[in-house]
């Protein structure tokens, strides 16, 4: 099949672009190298929708951050992923740091970010009693939110697919060639031909650009380690807490996630290895020492999970979005923080660029903006739970006891595309709680095997060689 657009990369940027292009009468395909969309950098994202005042106005980042921020409410209303505007606080420990808060306040107001104000210690104690008493002031930004970035990816792509976009996972792009009226992508799946290629390949965007003959920039991955804390700490802080930002980082944060856990991190360390998502002892020390300074009551003993991700930082530290010397090849590269926040605005910008480059955008009259709502059974009122479980007893059967996830929700996740344990985990939260799958992994494996009609030994954690169990009579092969 000949496509109009090939999107390389199924992170939140690629998914948002796919969904944006799905509004038009186009033939679009998205290629993702992992077993599911969102399983690269986006999965390890801090999940913060930044308030809008962080980045300088003379950068692409600065322009797209606030524009993107304002689009998340409508996206969430249509797609139903976890999103809440909980606000953020940037804290100052000294009078000099306080002066920086004043500057952030002024520049934020200039951008039109509403609600910014500086809280003095008495207000701060009242709102966030568990912050360090050494804090002299904090900048409150109510427009900041938290989102489940992987859920956003899953629902964006679900919506795109429902509107006709094709998706190929486990597809690693190996070569790009231009001929005739467009491009041919070669990789670990059938060749894909299209008029336009959108390079949203994250930490590999420079390599994909080089394949197209326009390797004009370099991505230098910056690793971030994050640590997830037990739900027992729910409400310990209510807003995202930032220290003062530095040149390369927004610092180590305390993030109350949408689901009620606290997440602390990330670190920011340059790495040469693009597969390096290891957590480290120094990284863990750095995170907890830094966080304890701001919120003294947080302890590493509350840690239930740890992970790391790579930010796709480019030289110049700004986003690289636009057409290239190679006709029809569009870069969407160097999308580091606040890339998640900016994603919906980036998607619209890319659609505009494609139109400028000669792609005709005709709105579909049958575009369906919403996806069927996800049931979060544990969050429903009792009478609604009784009603649903009366209709389908699978809502009454528990799969994940830490997060109270039912069999029906798990089966729904499988029917919506989850085909790995992590696929279920990131769609339903089964296995994300304090026992980290000790109880529910087996149940999820049984349900995957049953619903997909495959032997249980074929169930993987995350695709590829991530097998979980083997047969007793197997030889050397799992």
């Amino acid at each position: 099949m000949n496509y109009d657009v090939t999107i390389i990369g199924g992170g939140v940027i690629g998914c948002a672009i796919a969904r944006e292009l799905a509004r038009y009468r186009l033939r679009v395909i998205l290629l993702e190298k992992e077993c599911e969309v969102g399983f690269g950098t986006s999965k390890s994202n801090s999940g913060i929708i930044h308030a809008g005042h962080h980045s300088a106005t003379d950068t692409l980042k600065g322009r797209l951050e606030w524009a993107g921020n304002q689009k998340w409410d409508a996206l969430c209303a249509a797609l139903g992923f976890g999103f809440e505007r909980i606000g953020e606080l940037t804290v100052a420990f000294t009078p000099e740091e306080r002066a920086t808060l004043e500057r952030l306040l002024i520049s934020g107001r200039a951008k039109g970010v509403p609600g910014l104000e500086i809280w003095e210690p008495d207000r701060l104690r009242r709102e966030e009693p568990n912050l360090s008493s050494d804090i002299v002031a904090a900048l409150h930004a109510p427009t900041a939110g938290v989102v489940n970035p992987y859920e956003a990816c899953f629902t964006l792509i679900e919506s795109a697919r429902a509107n006709g976009v094709d998706v190929a996972v486990d597809y690693r792009v190996e070569a790009l060639s231009r001929g005739g009226d467009g491009w041919t992508v070669t990789g670990t799946g059938p060749d894909v031909a299209s008029r336009f290629v959108v390079n949203a390949a994250g930490i590999f965007a420079d390599r994909v650009a080089a394949m197209a003959g326009v390797g004009t920039f370099r991505i230098h991955p910056r690793k971030g380690e994050e640590y997830l804390l037990d739900k027992r700490l729910r409400g310990f802080v209510k807003r995202v807490i930032f220290p003062l930002p530095t040149a390369t980082s927004k610092g180590i944060l305390v993030i109350p996630t949408f689901d009620g856990t606290l997440m602390v991190g990330p670190t920011a360390h340059e790495t040469e290895d693009r597969s390096d998502i290891t957590t480290t002892l120094p990284g863990s020390d750095e995170v907890f020492e830094s966080v304890r300074r701001v919120v003294p009551g947080i302890s590493e003993r509350d840690c239930i999970a740890e992970f790391a991700g790579l930010r796709a930082a480019a030289e110049g530290e700004d986003f690289i979005i636009g057409p290239t010397a190679a006709k029809g090849f569009i870069n969407v590269a160097g999308i580091q923080s606040p890339g998640l926040t900016a994603a919906p605005a980036i998607a619209e910008m890319v659609a505009g660029i494609l139109e400028n480059e000669g792609l005709k955008l005709t709105a579909r009259d049958d575009f369906v903006a919403a996806v069927p709502p996800h049931v979060r059974f544990a969050a429903l009122p009792l009478d609604e739970q009784v009603r649903l479980a009366g209709e389908d007893p699978r809502y009454g059967r528990i799969v994940c006891r830490c997060e109270h996830i039912s069999e029906r929700e798990t089966v729904d996740a499988i029917q919506r595309g989850a085909h790995t344990l992590d696929g279920i985990k990131f769609r339903t939260r089964a296995g994300m709680g304090r026992c980290q799958g000790g109880f529910c992994s087996w149940r999820c494996m049984e349900l995957l095997a049953r619903e997909r009609g495959v032997p249980i030994t074929e169930i993987t954690k995350r695709g590829g060689g991530s097998w979980v169990i083997r047969r007793r009579d197997d030889g050397d092969q799992p």
């Binding site: 640590y227 290891t278 863990s284 840690c303 239930i304 528990i398 304090r434 979980v468 083997r470 799992p478």
Partner: protein, 420 residues
């Protein structure tokens, strides 16, 4: 398979037991002994019996039945008694919430969501295993890092294998038993690595599961890093310094595809916490009286929910007591309140129960902090008993008779384990 099923779920019970493992079954029998009518045991699995079903090794019941049983045999004996006594057992049922009026919200796979009431509740939810996050092992996050209990379930209940070559972190009993079990399955167990200078499992398991199978035990060692992108490829192990940090210069790599974690159990007290019972920060379980009553009126607890036991026999014994007292609560025949608080002193991590009465005999369970040979356990100045050795991994049990407390007039009794 023997399993009970409540033919008709009622709205009100005298005693409801949350959890149908060894603790819950014993508690239900204890309540029945007191002549209580309507007793219901709830279990989230398809069969009651708890984790015993996957414990197919022998060594259960030596104290209680005076013979060596496997886990399933032990569970079966209890389950048969429970059914004989016509106690309702509802499986495939998860207790999602208990409120202060002892209303329980049940999620059931057959009957949907139900709310029932109980005159008395026994908490018997057992424990869960600590996971990788609790010890923050650096490295990648591939498949193949799993708790020993998960591996035990895979092998013993379902007949699959967790991998081909295994390293075990932690010397908890489940890990030791799995070291032997996997060896018998033809899997190579490269060693057991314990960060503490002493083992965390029963001595008999160190001998029978490791020594007898030439599996090395490395004390004061830990897993310093996990490698592998999709499945575990190797782990780096290292001795630790006095701060329990790995010493990188002495580290070495072991190729393996599986890392089993046997790094301890945590009492499963989510429900207790929702309910608002006071927990002991050392045991992570409820603070209990000599009748195993929590700080919440009419709510009792027994088994691993209260503190981690090393023998199921003691779980049964303690939970029987919890059930009896839940029954006495319902019939209005409660014994007089406790008048002495036990206070963990020298080399004592905790004592259960937390309070006792000078009028009745009591079995006290405690754990020490450090190993000691030739020592004594002292209850203030009123009682001293010699012990040949103590070991943190082995619970100390002691029965205290009222006559020893005759001359004690305070309200707090210090419990110490000291060298002789």
């Amino acid at each position: 398979m023997i399993t009970g099923r409540a033919t008709q779920l009622q709205g009100l019970y005298d005693v409801v037991v949350a959890g149908g493992g060894p603790a819950g079954l014993a508690a239900a029998l204890g309540a029945r002994e007191q002549g209580v009518e309507r007793i219901l045991v709830l279990d989230r699995e398809r069969e009651a019996g708890g984790i015993l079903w996957q414990c197919i090794h022998a060594g259960f019941g030596l104290h209680h039945f005076k013979e060596e049983l496997t886990g399933p045999e032990y569970a079966q004996r209890y389950l048969e008694q429970v059914l004989e006594k016509e106690i309702d057992v509802l499986t495939d049922t998860f207790v999602a919430d208990i409120d202060r009026d002892r209303r329980l919200k049940l999620m059931t796979g057959r009957e949907g969501i139900r709310v029932i009431e109980a005159k008395s509740v026994v908490l018997a939810m057992g424990a869960r295993e600590r996971t990788r996050g609790a010890v923050r092992i650096p490295g990648t996050r591939p498949a193949g890092v799993m708790t020993a209990g998960f591996a035990q379930k895979v092998v013993n209940l379902h007949g699959y294998l967790p991998g081909r070559k295994v390293v075990i972190l932690g010397s908890g009993d489940i890990g030791l038993i799995m070291a032997r079990r996997l060896t018998l399955e033809g899997i190579e167990v490269a060693g057991v690595f314990e960060i503490m200078p002493h083992a965390n499992g029963l001595s008999r398991n160190i001998v029978q599961c490791l020594h007898d199978f030439d599996i090395p035990l490395y004390l004061s060692h830990t897993v310093a890093e996990i490698h592998g992108r999709e499945r575990v490829e190797k782990v780096t192990v290292a001795p630790v310094d006095e701060r329990m940090r790995p010493i990188p210069e002495k580290a070495w790599d072991i190729e393996c595809d599986t890392l089993l974690l046997s790094i301890g159990l945590i009492p499963e007290n989510e429900l207790s916490r929702q309910l608002g019972v006071r927990l002991d920060p050392v045991t992570n379980g409820p603070i209990v009286s000599s009748g195993m009553e929590t700080t919440m009126d009419g709510v009792f607890a027994g088994g691993n929910v209260v503190h981690i036991h090393d023998l199921v026999d003691f779980v049964s014994q303690e939970s029987l007591l919890a059930g009896r007292n839940a029954g006495l609560y319902v019939t209005g025949n409660r014994p007089p309140a406790d008048n002495i608080r036990l206070s963990p002193g020298e080399n004592v991590a905790y004592c259960v129960p937390h309070t006792i009465s000078s009028e009745r005999p009591h079995t006290i369970y405690l754990r020490v902090r450090r190993p000691l040979e030739k020592c004594s356990i002292r209850f203030g100045t009123v009682l001293e008993k010699k012990l040949s050795y103590v070991f943190p991994a082995e619970m100390v049990t002691l029965t205290v008779q009222p006559k020893f407390l005759e001359n004690f007039h305070g309200d707090a009794l210090s419990v110490d384990v000291v060298a002789r």
